[in-house]
């Protein structure tokens, strides 16, 4: 198991994290730029020092600030870190980069394990590039080579920082699957950092949401999005607006205590559907296509504007009623109300 109980000093704010990842488990860390996600990975890899804390990988302590203080040098930690910049060695070919970390007896470079390397090359689309130097690669190709290089190495933990940055959108979707498949063959703890929530959810068995150096919530990806622990987590996992409860029409026994309902653009249906959640009334302000859906800005009766993504277009100026499907509810202090009154009890009643 990888254990990271860390505090790292930074100029703006300290980064704190308490993470545990079992071998074969995948933890995705999601958050905005500057939240401290990369710092967590670098602290585990030993690239940045801890102010306080402990990093342990299985029985091996890698960093410890309590006496007796310990900091295992980077090469001995056997932690693979894929950084945002590809960091390929410019004087080596792609094949030489891929085989860089393979060691034979006595620590001599042994060249890559041919079977595993061939699989990586094939699955990551690197055929035909093996004799090319990094200067001849596109940004996306460089990133894929760097990903293959870290996967080709014999690490006991895998840390991936925005591994799919720079890929074409379509390829990025495919690479998510490839990455999951390749990592599944390596039963080591794996952490992936991304500011792309979809990517985080696709990769992780668990999802940690970070902001300003703190892990705000950690749990199963679907659950974190369905029930964000606070208003800030809700914002970070895609909820685009918070509407006061007294401005919503609640099903069943009426409005809950004063608080806030979070609106997720994708978790809405047209019309009032009391069994699904509270509804809102407003007027369509603007409509434009958004992928296969329609992005609709609607102004509520209370004057607030919310963005929705609907499967069918609506005309600008039309009145509209939408139901927020199973939205999280926050009390006046911004904390999640554990069981919203309109969901489980109503469904149980049905």
């Amino acid at each position: 198991m990888l254990v990271a109980e860390i505090e790292v000093a930074r100029r703006t704010f300290p980064v704190l994290a308490d993470l545990r990842v079992d071998p074969g488990q995948r933890l995705a860390v999601h958050g905005p730029s500057g939240a401290g996600k990369t710092t967590v990975l670098e602290a585990i890899a030993g690239v940045v020092p801890l102010r306080r804390g402990l990093v342990r990988l299985g029985p091996r302590v890698l960093s410890r600030t309590a006496p007796p203080r310990l900091q295992v040098p980077i090469p001995e930690r056997r932690v693979g870190l894929l950084r945002q910049a590809a960091m390929l060695f410019p004087h080596l070919t792609v094949a030489e980069n891929l085989g860089y970390s393979r060691r034979g007896p006595g620590g001599r470079p042994a060249g890559p394990d041919p079977g595993w390397l061939a699989l990586l090359v094939e699955r990551l689309g690197l055929q035909g590039l093996l004799e090319v130097r990094p200067a001849g690669l596109s940004g996306g190709q460089s990133q894929r080579v760097a990903l293959a290089r870290v996967l080709a190495s014999d690490h006991q933990a895998l840390l991936l920082d925005e591994p799919l940055t720079g890929q074409d959108p379509a390829l990025r979707l495919e690479l998510r699957l490839v990455l999951a498949e390749l990592i599944a063959r390596r039963p080591v703890p794996a952490l992936l950092v991304t500011h792309d929530l979809d990517e985080a959810q696709a990769f992780g068995d668990r999802l940690a949401v970070m902001d300003r150096g703190r892990v705000l919530q950690l749990g199963p990806p679907a659950e974190v999005v369905r029930r964000p622990a606070s208003r800030r987590v809700a914002e970070l996992v895609g909820y685009s607006a918070l509407i006061a409860t007294d401005r919503c029409r609640f099903p069943g026994s009426g409005a809950p205590a004063p608080g806030w309902v979070a609106v997720h653009p994708d978790k809405v249906v047209m019309g009032a559907v009391p069994a699904a959640g509270p509804s809102l009334q407003g007027r369509v302000v603007s409509v434009h296509p958004s992928g296969a859906l329609w992005s609709v800005w609607s102004q509520l009766e209370s004057g607030e504007r919310i963005r929705l993504r609907l499967p069918l277009p609506v005309a600008a100026g039309e009145p509209v009623t939408v139901t927020l499907v199973d939205p999280p509810l926050f009390d006046a202090t911004g904390q999640l109300v554990p069981v919203p009154r309109w969901s489980e009890p109503d469904r149980a009643r049905r």
């Binding site: 040098p73 090469p75 056997r78 870190l81 060695f89 004087h91 860089y100 060691r103 290089r149």
Partner: protein, 224 residues
Amino acid sequence: MDRTLGAPGALDPLWVSLGASGLALGVIVLGGTPLGWLLARDRLPAGRLIEVGLLGPLLMPPLVIGLLLVFMVGPNTPIGQLLGHLGLSATNTFLAVVIAEVYEAAPYYVLGVQAAVAAVDRDLEVEAELLGDHPFRRWRRVTLPLAAPGLASALAITWARAIGAFGAVIIVAYHPFGLPLQIWTSLQETGLGSALPFALLLVVVALPLPVLAYLWSARARRRD
């Protein structure tokens, strides 16, 4: 030219210059490479002070460097006396030529290495460590190859500077004559005609290394 270079002992200055400069270059490379690397990576507690110390010989006229050397390693200084106990002398000896050349040429090499290593992305070195390389192996596999064109240029300049050293050498080691001193004395005593063959000889032995280093370095840069 035949008469000048064909005279008995006429090529002695050539052997002195090649021997002293080769030895000086060896000393400079052995000591200057780690020093330049440490300076580039800010690993020395008084790094800035050392840089200033290296700039001194670059900025001062070589004659002044020679005078400073007399005060540092002359027979009446602690270092001179220590050398004396070992049966050595840093005045008017082959050793003195080597010391003067080292002192005059070393800053070019150290500052050249510093610039070449500083140009190597530190993150690439960290990457090598993340992939399992300990410091020496990291140096050999990443830092050295990437800094090599810059190191080659530094080596070429240092060689040219050492073999052509005159100002400091004439102060601390008037004898034995190397080529620069031979050119000077020939010019003074018998005129341009007898100095020119030695000048040509100096060019012939001094140029190949810088030219080769330049060509190799240009090729390496084009390849990257």
